[in-house]
């Protein structure tokens, strides 16, 4: 291997690492606020990329129908639970309609816009909107009533959600894979390596999202409220922070990050309905490097995972997944030796 190949691999690794970083951040975000280990994070990635692909071909994306189904289920749950708890059918109906409103608007706009063949960036925006709307609904339907459960129960629920979302992906997108057009076709020579416009976009979007997240959690009251929920749920509730709302907001952000990641990788690889899982899990390995708690740690971990994957693919391409996922064992070993304490008092 000479330095040219090495630098190409390095760039490759950093590019995919930047996407894994986003997913790792989303994983850390969801875990710290809700204690949910969100395995289906990758499904949002596939949903995002495939929704755009469907819009590209002028069809109404299957995600829209799925979104409507989910919204109906969520609003029925909202109706029943509110009615039971507060005994006020009018208020319950209001809150059910509120749950339904945004998904319905997004769906109607999508159905109208799908055959119009708008510019790529409009379609991209629409895809992000559709997939992001999924976040709160998924939380509402699958997790909200289990908020008090142990992380392990939540983890098993996550696996159930992952199963369901993958199967539904197959149902609504079909088994065919898609590759999206690049957002920016220019190329730049940078010494021995060529930087594509898409790579620049990936780095740009990743970096700005990370900065935005940091600003949000450090500077805004809402962000601080989320952090409070992460530290102590009961305490946060006593301060008037709704754990339901926090959970839904967190899932909204996770879905947004997932959808954006889907758009970023869409042009670099062919995405199938089940591709999201492996991509999400690599973000996951990155999050584990960070002990599921540190944002900068997840970023570094993700870049590391990306680089290992790129070099692994070069030396032993058949075994690149083996290498990446076996990586988690030494990482956990180091963490285990460093932390040393066992978990007390669940």
């Amino acid at each position: 291997m000479d330095s040219t190949i090495a630098s190409i691999l390095l760039l490759d690794g950093l590019t995919s690492g930047a996407v894994y970083a986003l997913l790792g951040l989303a994983t850390v975000l969801v875990f710290t606020v809700t204690r949910v280990i969100f395995i289906p994070q990758g499904e949002f990635v596939a949903y995002g990329a495939l929704t755009l692909a469907m819009l590209q071909s002028g069809k109404t994306p299957g995600t829209v129908w799925l979104l409507m189904c989910l919204a109906v289920v969520a609003s029925v749950m909202e109706l029943v639970e509110r009615w039971r708890h507060h005994g006020n059918p009018v208020r319950a109906l209001q809150s059910a309609l509120k749950t339904l409103l945004i998904p319905a608007v997004v769906a109607v706009v999508s159905i109208w816009a799908a055959p119009q063949q708008f510019a790529l960036w409009v379609q991209a925006l629409l895809s992000v909107a559709i997939v992001t709307t999924f976040g709160p609904l998924v939380y509402r339907v699958a997790y909200q009533s289990l908020e008090a459960a142990t992380p392990l129960v939540l983890l098993i629920v996550s696996v159930g959600v992952h199963f369901a979302m993958t199967g539904l992906g197959l149902l609504f997108f079909g088994a065919e894979g898609f590759r999206n057009p690049s957002f920016w076709d220019d190329r730049f020579a940078l010494g021995p390596v060529t930087l594509t416009g898409q790579t620049v976009i990936i780095f740009g979007v990743s970096l700005s999202l990370i900065v935005l997240l940091w600003l949000y959690f450090e500077k805004s009251l809402r962000g601080k409220a989320l952090r409070a929920t992460a530290v102590n749920r009961t305490g946060a509730r006593l301060m008037g922070i709704s754990t339901h709302a926090s959970g839904q907001l967190t899932f909204l952000m996770a879905a947004l990050i997932g959808a954006l990641s889907g758009l970023l990788i869409g042009p670099t690889t062919t995405v199938f309905y089940d591709s999201g899982f492996l991509i999400g899990l690599k973000g996951f390995v990155a999050a584990v490097v960070a002990g599921l708690s540190s944002y900068p740690g997840a970023l570094l971990g993700a870049l590391f995972v990306g680089i290992v994957e790129a070099f692994g693919a070069f030396w032993a391409s058949a075994f690149k997944e083996v290498i990446v996922f076996t990586l988690i064992l030494p990482i956990l070993l180091v963490r285990s030796l460093r932390s040393g304490h066992s978990d007390e008092e669940h």
Binding site: I37, I39, A142, S145, L146, A149, T150, P151, L152, V153, L155, I156, V157, V159, G160, V161, H162, F163, A164, M165, T166, G167, L168, L170, L171, G174, A175, L278, L281, F284, V285, V288, L292, A318, F319, E321, V322, I323, V324, F325, T326, I328, L329, L332, L333, R335, S336, S339, G340, S342, D343, E344, E345, H346
Partner: protein, 587 residues
């Protein structure tokens, strides 16, 4: 007799089913159900009882299957040898994964097993020697001499015999000294460690047992299908195994069989029915499984078998230990000799000094009360002495031995036994079983002898001791009550009995009267007076001054982490500094 009923029924029905003129298709279905149930049986122990989750059981099935496939095909070894090689390889990999992840908090194990399951799947799918994604073909069926037992009805008998044997072994294990330790894992480690149990060792043990069950299933599966390929050992299958255990009733041994049957039949049905409804082929059944998994966890968290189990409550344990020998007792310091010497212990949490160079000692036969206003550092002191927290500096000598650096379970083994400020017990075990946990360090029979039930002599001695201690504190009538159903006062007394069961040289009671009603306090005071008469050495942390003044020989008063004063109850009561600490001063 009643709890053996499922075993008897199953054991009888296996040969009957084998002889019935059932279609071969159904025998094959039953064979798969048996294989899957064997894997989820391991998960019942690991996840249901031990509270640890693994998504990687399919990978262990794969190790068992590939080991025997490769070795019988390439080296021509007999499957009866490769079974043990497969078990060995599985054990090694389970130990590596377990030792790495089980020290950390609960969710790292499932994460590691996901990653481990994935990487093993890709490894099997990419190794030339293992036939890549096509797998290995042409395995021989299992045979004894010239008789082929690897197919059809004979295999059915073999597979279900192994399953029933496994289930019985687990049932035996769960009702034993190591089994009680395993059942304590779910509720946090502090109580178990205080009983002298190495919780880490038991976590690794159950992970290992579950992996070995999976490996046996893999070995059977390989020779039954006569081919192996990676798809049967991927993460999807690993999740399905967990699903079987969860649906069936993750805390119940027989739930594994129910869950395996349900999932296998549903899986087959959906794989045909769903594509027909939808119109294209594809594995749509995962949608139903995913949704069903969430629904089960929401509405039936104990699984289907819990419904059955409720109909057939466990009969009370037969009192078979009346003739048993007493357990040996440890030698204790003679009255008046020092039991505990606390020498300048200190605990700092960052800048906060919670315990500031506290010193006191306890002589054998003395009851010493540790008192002070809220936040004085009493509980921290308690945790420093018992080894739950590590000391910043200072020395604790117990029965002449320096125990400053020992973890809590080692200190417990030396004969220091404690109760907890918030009762820690296993709510779904009987009072007797809970108390028998206290005698953990006085037995030594392990997992294997529990499974084979060669531990009965020791079990009887442990049970006898537990009953004796319960009677000692006046709880002889509620031996077979579920601990979770007891009133608060009885639960606290039960904790004292559990502590006494370890034959302690020193008993530490952490606010035993907290939350008790008047009558219950009187009962507690009576127990303490009785223990005093019997010469027990006790360190008591308590807020109830009437109780403290009544039973203690010596008092140690703390305020803001420092030692305020010490002396007899009368001296302490007369001390103006103590009055000021409790009631404030007039300005």
């Amino acid at each position: 007799m009643k709890q053996h009923l499922p075993v008897l029924l199953l054991s009888l029905s296996v040969p009957i089913i084998a002889l019935l003129p059932l279609p071969d298709f159904w025998i094959a279905q039953l064979n798969y159900i048996g294989l899957y149930a064997l894997v989820s049986l391991g998960l019942v122990l690991l996840t249901g009882v031990g509270g640890l989750t693994s998504f990687g059981q399919a990978a262990f099935v794969g190790i068992g299957a590939y080991t025997t496939a490769w070795l019988t095909l390439n080296l021509g070894l007999s499957p009866w040898i490769t079974l043990f090689i497969g078990l060995g390889l599985t054990a090694v990999s389970a130990l590596v994964v377990g030792l790495i992840t089980l020290r950390m908090s609960g969710h790292y194990l499932p994460l590691a097993t996901i990653a481990w399951g994935l990487s093993l799947y890709y490894l099997m799918g990419n190794l030339d020697a293992l036939g890549k994604y096509d797998g290995l073909l042409g395995l021989k069926s299992l045979s004894v001499g010239d008789i082929d037992i690897g197919q059809g009805r004979l295999f059915f008998v073999l597979c279900w015999a192994l399953l029933i044997a496994g289930a019985v072994a687990l049932i035996n294990l769960l009702d034993s000294r190591p089994g009680r330790a395993i059942r304590s894992l779910k509720g946090g480690t502090q109580m178990a460690e205080a009983m002298g149990i190495s919780t880490f060792r038991y976590k690794v043990t159950i992970f290992l047992i579950a992996a070995l069950f999976a490996a046996v299933a893999g070995w059977l599966l390989a020779h039954f299908q006569r081919t192996v390929n990676p798809s049967a050992f991927g993460l999807k299958m690993g999740i399905e195994y967990l699903f079987m255990a969860v649906v069936g009733g993750v805390g119940h041994v027989w739930g594994a069989v129910v869950g395996a049957a349900l999932v296998k039949l549903l899986d087959d049905y959906l794989q045909v029915a769903l594509p027909a409804i939808i119109g294209t082929s594809g594995s749509y059944e995962v949608i139903v499984f995913g949704v069903a998994l969430v629904l089960v966890l929401k509405y039936l968290p104990d699984g289907l078998w819990s419904v059955v189990a409720r109909k057939f409550p466990r009969p009370p344990r037969a009192l078979n230990w009346l003739e048993a020998e007493d357990l040996p007792v440890r030698s204790k310091p003679a009255p008046g000799e020092p039991v505990l010497v606390v020498d300048n212990i200190r605990k700092q949490f960052g800048g906060l000094t919670a315990v500031n160079d506290i010193s006191f000692d306890i002589a054998a036969g003395q009851i010493v009360g540790l008192i002070g206003p809220n936040g004085a550092g009493k509980s921290t002191t308690f945790n420093l002495i018992t080894g739950v927290l590590s000391k910043t500096s200072g020395r604790v000598t117990f029965c002449g031995q320096d125990v400053s650096q020992l973890p809590s379970r080692e200190i417990a083994r030396q004969g220091m036994s404690r109760t907890f400020q918030h009762v820690k017990m296993i709510a779904d075990m009987t009072v007797l079983e809970n108390v028998a946990m206290g005698a953990y360090t006085r037995g030594h029979k392990g997992v294997l002898s529990a499974m084979l039930r060669t531990n009965q002599v020791e079990e009887q001695r442990l049970m006898k001791e537990a009953q004796r201690q319960l009677e000692r504190i006046g709880m002889g009538v509620s031996l077979h009550e579920q601990a979770g159903n007891l009133a608060m006062g009885s639960q606290r007394l039960m904790e004292i009995a559990r502590a006494l069961c370890s034959d302690p040289a020193l008993l530490l009671l952490d606010e035993p009267a907290a939350g008790l009603r008047h009558k219950e306090k009187q009962a507690l005071a009576q127990v303490l007076r009785q223990l005093q008469r019997e010469g027990m050495s006790i360190l008591l942390v308590e807020h109830d001054m009437d109780l403290v003044m009544e039973v203690c020989d010596q008092l140690v008063v703390m305020e803001f982490g420092t030692l305020l004063t010490r002396g007899t109850p009368a001296e302490v009561q007369a001390n103006p500094a103590v009055r000021a600490a409790y009631l404030g001063t007039e300005h």
